[in-house]
Symmetry: C2
Subunit: 214 residues, 2 copies
């Protein structure tokens, strides 16, 4: 897969070595994250909110009530300029100096125009992808949306084009002069883990195999 | 503690029952989250990035290189309009219908003007708070910033004023008509957990007690 091309919006001011444009890496980060943050502009001021997302190829989708802020704002011709972020925390970095304390993370930022999805077939595919993301096979193992439910759900599409990822991994970057200091230094790995499923009332049978595992 | 007052920017269009203004709840969510997303406007377009944050009373701070995007943009008089988000994922909600799949989460959104911190005493307090957040006692157990390091670090302050929290918790909200469907329904709890600390080279002694525990 060819890489994404650097754009003005995705060219960093600093820490350039942490930034990349590899398509498979970007996809993997987007797919691992359960939610994103979508930033947009309302009356010249920034607005942003967390939303679940799903990716199909080079399109990323977020959904919400058709009456929610971004869904209303994106109705304009050509869509709405957005900045979509995903960030996964992988570790906390304890340096011998305050200055070099840091975090390990994998993040994606995507800029572009978010457009309201109106094509019924595309909408059906995307809404199914949200459910399928929660577990491979879940879309077939739950009731598809009625026409009314589908109409109540607003859906935005952002084409992955001005996209980059930013990754910090590894250990502590203390200055050599500080290596002799007596303070503990190292990394505490962090991970989002699934717990034991809690069934709803009247549910019989074991939790399905496709649920996220501990 | 009195609650925050609803503002135009923090009054929701939908799911009003999930939104609150309780100060202690907002503080707790901000303090539990290791990072936030900061959205701002550049040339009329939205920009957003993940940043670590620290709270001191009713001020929330983010830091970065003095040459980074938001730090440069905030230099204008009166600061820069921002939208700061924090979101903690608590669970994935599997409904019998596609439509009612959801997530449990705790989120905070704060709007306002982010200002560059120039007062040296405030800057020192805030930078120390970032390190202290990683473990109570860590600021004293690592080397404070030199003047040069402090000068290299840009710091933004956002006063908590136009703030709200949004919380979804509990179980599945399936329509009563769907309760007889054969699909498994329930909640998979999700939690960010700390792993086993990895010491840096040449570190002797056990990891300190103040590190986040598994």
């Amino acid at each position: 897969m060819p890489t994404y091309q650097p754009a003005v919006a995705t060219t960093p001011h600093r820490n350039r070595d942490r930034v990349g444009y590899d398509r498979a890496t970007v996809h993997a980060i987007l797919d691992e994250a359960w939610f994103c943050h979508l930033a947009f502009v309302v009356d010249g001021r920034p607005a942003s909110l967390p939303l679940m997302h799903a990716r199909l190829g080079e399109d990323i989708y977020v959904h919400g009530s058709t009456g929610s802020g971004p869904l209303l704002a994106a109705r304009q011709d050509g869509g709405m300029p957005v900045c979509l972020n995903v960030a996964l925390l992988d570790g906390l970095v304890y340096a011998r100096s305050h200055f070099h304390h840091s975090a390990n993370y994998r993040a994606v930022v995507a800029h572009g125009m978010a457009e309201v999805v109106t094509d019924p077939a595309e909408k059906a595919r995307a809404l199914s992808a949200f459910v399928e993301k929660l577990g491979a096979g879940r879309a077939a193992d739950s009731r598809p949306p009625s026409e009314r439910e589908s109409a109540q759900t607003g859906l935005l599409r952002l084409r992955l084009d001005q996209v980059s990822c930013k990754i910090r991994s590894g250990g502590v970057n203390d200055d050599p002069d500080d290596h002799g200091l007596p303070h503990w230094a190292g990394v505490v790995p962090m991970q989002l883990v699934a717990g034991t499923p809690t069934p709803d009332v009247n549910v019989v049978g074991s939790p399905p195999e496709y649920l996220p595992r501990r």
